[in-house]
């Protein structure tokens, strides 16, 4: 085993040493340890031939999230440091992964300093910014990535913050935020250039409204808004929309980008009929999603490349092109989706049941997940999840590497 990225721990340890030496007071502390095992039934459908995405059969994930805040210079230094050992135990039914490949990864998901005075807050460092109001994939999350619909709770803490400078002013019913994001390795995941983003939030009773925007140094921009409104005590309606001057989606047959303006819209509701139930229902429209024609072209391309893979001389090129397609396309692929989540509290003592469905309206494929969560002795959470795909034959969900997944995990909070 080895620790990936040695320079970063060095910085972190230096900061930790400094903090200890300075005798600073510790503030918030919600560190977590997660250990889970999952078994995947590999999708061997015609759109995912021979496990082209190399999804492991058996995975054992161990993650430690060190989360602490320290009071320093009348502000706070906040760390959200992720250590992970993702053991991919089995490549297929026969072959195991080489134990020498097991690596402890270190990811400083967040590490920032912030200071508030009067109605101002200033911050610097890596920070995850949540602007969107949707349960998953909010279009207005334009500074840091939102969670994926397939893992809305980001259970393995995979979302990283962005490297940024923050300046916020908070009035009695409104807030102004400006973020400057320089070009860094981490920011490259989100933006390809130096970037600046702003938000204006206000409450116009009963609506909470945010206007957001982002502009990159190369002139590409995004502009949008979100709102939430409560109707009575049980129902909340929300919407979230963004207009983008450039999309990163790649289109067949030549997998080039489309230079037209694109937009994403989300409209949803959060309903709690009583203390035991919570229901989230959201509709997404993604204008840059594949049309029926694009989807047909993609299927034909994959079919063609699969045929080429059977010919020895073309196999390496065809395989590499296919991998590129799978890796470059960001799911979901089509235009219209529905996300639904049902949470049943108090299923029995300290237990919750969760059902998630993420479905494509255009081709009726869906990903479904049943989860049961049992909390005991306050800090332990045992969970079981079973996820499976439905109606995938002609659906973009057929591009997922699995047919179903069984997962058992334990989460411990410190």
């Amino acid at each position: 085993m080895r620790l990936v990225n040695k320079a970063r721990p060095h910085i972190v340890f230096s900061i930790a040493a400094f903090i200890i030496l300075s005798g600073l007071s510790v503030q918030a502390q919600t560190s977590k340890y997660i250990s889970e095992v999952e078994y995947n039934t590999i999708n061997k459908g015609w759109l995912n031939p021979q496990n082209i995405q190399l999804l492991p059969y058996i995975n054992v994930n161990n993650i430690f999230l060190y989360n602490k805040s320290f009071k320093i210079w009348k502000g706070s230094l906040n760390g959200n440091l992720r250590f992970s050992l993702l053991n991919q135990l089995s490549k297929d039914e026969v072959n195991k992964y080489d134990v020498n490949d097991y690596k402890i990864r270190f990811d400083p998901n967040e590490l920032y300093y912030q200071k508030s005075f009067n109605n101002f807050t200033l911050g610097i460092g890596r920070k995850r910014i949540k602007w969107g109001v949707g349960y998953v994939s909010s279009p207005t999350d334009i500074v840091s990535n939102p969670p994926s619909p397939t893992d809305p709770s980001d259970r393995l803490f995979q979302i990283k913050g962005s490297d940024l400078f923050q300046a916020s002013y908070i009035g009695s019913k409104s807030q102004y935020d400006i973020y400057l994001m320089p070009k860094t390795n981490v920011n490259d995941l989100y933006f390809k250039n130096h970037s600046a983003a702003f938000r204006y939030f206000t409450n116009v009773h009963p609506f909470d409204i945010s206007l957001v925007g982002r502009i990159d140094l190369d002139g590409t921009y995004q502009a949008g808004f979100n709102q939430t409104v409560a109707i009575g005590e049980k129902l909340e309606l929300h919407s979230d929309a963004i207009l983008s001057s450039k999309s990163n989606a790649l289109y067949p047959p030549d997998f080039s980008t489309n230079k037209e303006l694109s937009y994403r819209i989300l409209a949803g509701t959060n309903w709690s009929p009583n203390q035991n139930y919570n229901i989230v229902l959201e509709y997404f429209h993604i204008s840059e999603g594949y049309s029926a024609n694009h989807w047909l072209l993609l299927q034909n391309t994959i079919e063609y490349l699969e045929a080429m893979r059977a010919i020895e001389t073309f196999e390496p090129t065809a395989t590499s092109t296919m991998k590129k397609i799978y890796n470059s396309n960001v799911f979901p692929l089509r235009k219209d989706f529905i996300f639904g989540r049902l949470l049943r509290n108090n299923l029995f003592k300290n237990a919750e049941l969760e059902w998630i469905t993420f479905a494509c309206i255009n081709d009726l494929g869906s990903l479904n997940r049943l989860g049961i969560y049992y909390k005991f002795q306050s800090r332990f959470n045992l969970y079981f999840q079973y996820q499976f795909l439905l109606n995938t034959d002609k659906s973009s969900f057929n591009l997922y590497g699995f047919e179903d997944t069984w997962r058992l995990g334990l989460k411990i909070s410190f």
Binding site: Q27, T30, K130, S153, S168
Partner: protein, 258 residues
């Protein structure tokens, strides 16, 4: 002369009694409620530390919160203990209540009656007064017998102005002499009695008498007992606006969870 003096004393005593009775009965129920509220939140901006202890079958649980109040309608509750809840927040603005989870950075709308811990609901911690959320349906003068003795009280029957209030009906006993809230019984929409609360301790802070302990009995949960103790009660000069804006909770979480 003796008769005249006795007559004068009798008249004086009667006048004194009558004036005192008139003084009390001249208070409107609204005034009585306001005075009782001032025993829980004497200042428009204040903060306190709340320690909640609950006796359950599995043992006693302890939770600690830092609570900030501003202008009657704004409340921020910062979770300090247990450690794994540290950094979570509860924000109440008017009748709207959000629970912010530090891990997800997301405020989720909740209802005040939802259980915080033990026998205590979110609204029990986030609201110190009654007049914003309840109207007085009736009032009467009555004796209240508790473990510590018998008190002359006003009994106010309160009804929720909206279904969003923590409870739908409250019976509130207020001490006639001191205006201290002594006891309340709270009811759900179904009419069932949910909890009994006893306001058991008061202390002097900045020359004001302030409630510092409430005992809860949860009748829906085998009469489970919880005790909420308030300490470090302080009048605040200026609690910043950023504490009460939903979108700034991520920053506030880092700032207030000491």
């Amino acid at each position: 002369m003796k008769i005249k003096l006795q007559g004068f004393l009798a008249f004086f005593a009667l006048a004194l009694f009558t004036s005192s009775t008139m003084y009390i009965s001249e208070k409107t129920p609204e005034q009585i409620l306001k005075e009782a509220e001032s025993k829980r939140s004497p200042w428009t901006q204040m903060s306190m530390t709340a320690e909640l202890n609950t006796n359950a079958k599995s043992g006693t649980t302890k939770s600690i919160y830092k609570v900030y109040f501003k202008d009657e309608i704004n409340t921020l509750v910062a979770f300090l203990e247990p450690q794994f809840e540290k950094g979570n927040l509860l924000l109440m603005v008017d009748a709207d209540l959000w629970y912010y989870v530090r891990e997800t950075k997301k405020p989720t709308r909740i209802t005040p009656v939802q259980r915080l811990s033990g026998s205590v609901s979110y609204g029990d911690l986030a609201r110190l007064g009654w007049s914003k959320d309840y109207t007085i349906v009736s009032s009467e003068e009555t004796e209240l017998k508790t473990e510590i003795g018998t008190s002359e009280t006003y009994l106010l029957n309160l009804a929720a102005k909206s279904q969003g209030a923590t409870y739908q009906k409250i019976k509130l006993w207020i001490d006639k002499k001191t205006s201290k809230p002594l006891k309340s019984e709270v009811f759900l929409l179904s009419g069932k009695m949910y909890k009994t609360m006893l306001f058991t301790k008061y202390e002097i802070v900045n020359n004001k008498e302030v409630n510092s302990q409430i005992e809860f009995t949860d009748h829906f949960n085998a009469n489970q007992k919880s005790v909420l103790n308030f300490s470090k009660i302080a009048q605040e000069k200026t609690i910043p606006n950023r504490f009460f804006i939903k979108t700034s909770l991520a920053e506030v979480s880092d700032e207030v969870s000491e």
